[in-house]
């Protein structure tokens, strides 16, 4: 699966709520497969996508697989740039404390545990989009 040539900047943009549609889950599947290709990967959660990261989901009553644990595994796949739209959180009455605490271990700093989630403003999102080579929309 190795690729010749330079690494590309990949951004996965998640704008939809989980469970009502499958996009959140099928986006995660792409991210996990994509991790093997060693690109420079970022995830952006904006609009209703911020709901994907809420903690304490219990899907037993709707018979669907609860995939929220997968987000906390992303750090192990070197997916540790997880951007969350702070305005989207605010207008939904949510704070960072409502979301899962996602971390990764920095091998350059003796495997120190670091936060993966970074709250971003609209200007930072605009900048983030502009610097990407490829954007996947979910």
């Amino acid at each position: 699966m190795s690729e010749a040539g330079a690494t590309k900047k990949f951004l996965y943009i998640n704008r939809k709520a989980p469970y009502g549609t499958i996009y959140a889950w099928e986006s995660l599947e792409v991210v996990l497969i994509g991790a093997a290709f060693e690109q420079d990967v970022s995830l952006l959660f904006m609009d209703d996508g911020v709901y994907q990261l809420i903690k304490g989901m219990d899907t037993k009553g709707i018979g669907m697989k609860n995939f929220s644990a997968t987000y906390s595994a992303l750090g192990d796949y070197d997916v540790n740039k997880i951007y969350v739209d702070k305005d989207a959180l605010a207008e939904r009455g949510l704070t960072l404390e409502d979301l899962q605490h996602l971390v990764w271990e920095d091998e350059n700093e003796d495997w120190a545990e670091k936060d993966s989630i970074r709250l971003v403003s609209r200007d930072e999102i605009a900048g983030l989009l502009e610097e990407q080579d490829v954007i996947f929309n979910f």
Partner: protein, 99 residues
């Protein structure tokens, strides 16, 4: 009359349309991604709280729980299960789904 809303009020205008034309005495049931309309502290909470003055608002508990938001539901909103959903349909003369 029973109104069913299954879309997030932050993404689509379904809840807004529902609130605009539902009558006093009507019941509004929030299911699927519609449950986000039941939460406290959001941009739409005031509009939903206002509806509670003359309409009944319910939320499907299993859909709220799946999304991790069961504990954030506004005071005054009834949490129902699928049995309760069936009862609401039976108890109301008409059903309108705001797809």
């Amino acid at each position: 009359m029973l109104h069913i809303v299954n879309k997030s009020p932050f993404t689509t205008t379904s809840l807004e349309s529902c609130l605009r034309v539902s009558k006093p005495g009507a019941t509004i049931l929030l299911i699927e991604d519609g449950v986000y309309g039941a939460l406290d502290g959001s941009r739409v909470s005031d509009a939903v709280r206002a509806a509670l003055a003359d309409r009944t608002v319910c939320v499907l508990g299993v859909d709220a729980a799946a999304r991790g938001v069961e504990g954030k539901v506004l005071d005054g909103i009834d949490v129902v299960d699928y049995d309760g959903f069936v009862d609401l349909v039976a108890a109301n003369d008409g059903v309108q789904s705001w797809l």
